[in-house]
Symmetry: C3
């Protein structure tokens, strides 16, 4: 039995599940490709307002790349480069999804699993979750792309600590380091993710997409152009601004249309 | 009755107060312009060593831009651009003040109020303070300029969380996120700000200005030039270095002159 | 009696000790030069896997530059520039050491001592350690180079707070600010540093060096080139990858060779 990636749709949200339960949801090549495909597809769906990414079951978010494939698919530099193109495309698809993406984390979130979680916009985990990138045991390095995302979350010093020591550590330390936004008791991960998703989908959908894009844009040191600056005021010409403003004056919740 | 911005001067410090008590110190256009004017004026006053920025009363630092003005002054993209020039000039005046600026925060510090606080050099708040940028309810986005200051304080992940969820949260979370430097019991905000200001004004004034300017300079990814590097040693030719060094050897407090 | 810097070698680790016990291990010019020499030498030694940097005794890591030298060696701008070339070369030698460097911190870690610690890759301290850069009392500024390292650890806002207030603060605040990776009871600093070093030297040595270099490379806003990206996959052609992979499958610890 091999792993797979599934998509569950409701009206304005979707849940993507990484499933390879016998291997702590480790991703084989097929799963990396399905992960990319899922996020490219969901990103193009204009009706969506939020995507949740999770691991099947409650033992793991994902344990990283499937080590069983190393012998055949990553046994040398050339193979590793080809493999990295697949994993990189998947990670970029998660990062570039126009909708906010919330990682729902139970159990192990290590190696490539932590890299996937780092590409999401929010990370909520249970108290018994475990984190780490113990790649030094395998004699392997994290590539610049993935390292950049890790540093963006925890800073250079904590990123280096994680890589040099290679420890697997708990949720409290992950929170203190900035790896996750929020830690809750294991039983409350589901309701807390649900509450966060509700708060996100209640807001104006275009605003969420703009904010996600703007924050990611500012990670690039190239100065923002005047044209880009101008885009910050396009929201004043949307239907949702008129809806939001009227609802605010009436002291009721706005029902946004995404236009 | 409309809002206003007042300045209180003492010998080497000044307190700027945002006052619009009936609207949680929300800023209307007049107040934004007065805020800019106050900081341009204070920045030019060489006798000053520190500026405190606060809201009138203890219910709010500031609740942001006055929503009452939206209908007439921000009803579309063109108007919003003109309005943004006013608010942006005020925010830049706070950021560019040559003296250290300490935000003294009671109560609500949300939306544009939080943006103003983010431009200050230090933020000290009471335990019952509340923070957030719930702009997604209005269908509006934070512009790149203000977003950059927010990210500089809390990082990309927390900035995006604040904007996507739009929650209003408490002082402990603000501290954990890096939004504020220090949380104290409400009754101790005044003495704690006083103590911080004392520590600041006891130091060599030119040093404080250099440090403020250097830290802000390094937010720009353009490499520091040799000429800029050289400026780091100008302090050795100041009268205050000679005063400070002699006081250090004599184990007494230095009385700096600002020269 | 003058200060000195000593090196203690074991098989794959080295300990560098800053010793000037009568002056809280403050560094005079000789010590700055010896510090540079020690790290240049250790960096070139391919057998090493980790370096520990500490102060002699348990009263101080280091109290900064020796203030006794100010009158003769830093009394004006020209002298200060020459002196800065010496201290800067030492700080850079610590930062550029190819091996991971762990700062073992007891007691005072202030001024130049904190700058030295900031150049290390990890910082572990005891509960009674004290931190700060009270340079404003002397009428002096931190130069751009050192400021950059401080900001990389704690962010702009905390860096400015440290410099403007000039407070000397405890280990818990240092941890909250991100100045140190870990605080332990004073008696456990030695075993905890030992445990961290063990974890580091158990990993593949080339991987540790790559990770250190990659993390420092990303502090530079210049985009990573394709050639640099390619280097991320060189590890797949190392002997240590084959050793690490086999050990992983056999569920035993790998014995890396550094090739």
């Amino acid at each position: 039995m091999t792993g797979f990636v599934s998509i569950d749709r409701s009206e304005v949200t979707a849940t993507v599940t990484l499933a390879n339960p016998e291997r702590m949801n480790a991703l084989d090549t097929t799963m990396w490709r399905e992960l990319e495909k899922a996020f490219v597809e969901l990103s193009a769906d204009d009706r969506l307002r939020c995507v949740v990414l999770r691991g099947a079951g409650d033992k793991a978010f994902a344990a990283g790349a499937d080590v069983g494939e190393f012998a055949t698919m990553r046994s040398n530099r050339e193979q590793a480069l080809a493999y990295a193109r697949v994993t990189h495309a998947a990670l970029q698809a998660v990062a570039n999804c126009v909708h906010p993406v919330v990682a729902r984390i139970h159990g192990a979130c290590v190696g490539g699993g932590l890299e996937i979680a780092s590409m999401c916009d929010m990370r909520i985990c249970g108290e018994s979750s475990r984190f780490g990138i113990p790649i030094k045991r395998l004699g392997l390095v994290v590539s610049y792309h993935e390292l950049k995302s890790l540093i963006a979350l925890v800073g250079s010093a904590a990123a280096l600590e994680i890589l040099l020591e290679g420890r697997v550590f708990g949720a409290a330390e992950a929170l203190a380091k900035g790896l996750v936004n929020r830690v809750v008791p294991d039983a409350e991960v589901e309701p807390e993710v649900g509450a966060a998703v509700s708060r996100i989908v209640e807001g104006a959908p275009l605003v969420a997409r703009w904010h996600k894009r703007f924050v990611r844009r500012l990670a690039d040191p190239v100065p923002v152009t005047d044209d880009e600056m101008d885009e910050c005021y396009t929201c004043f010409d949307t239907e949702d601004f008129r809806i939001g403003y009227r609802a605010f004056l009436d002291k009721r919740k706005a029902a946004f249309t995404g236009r």
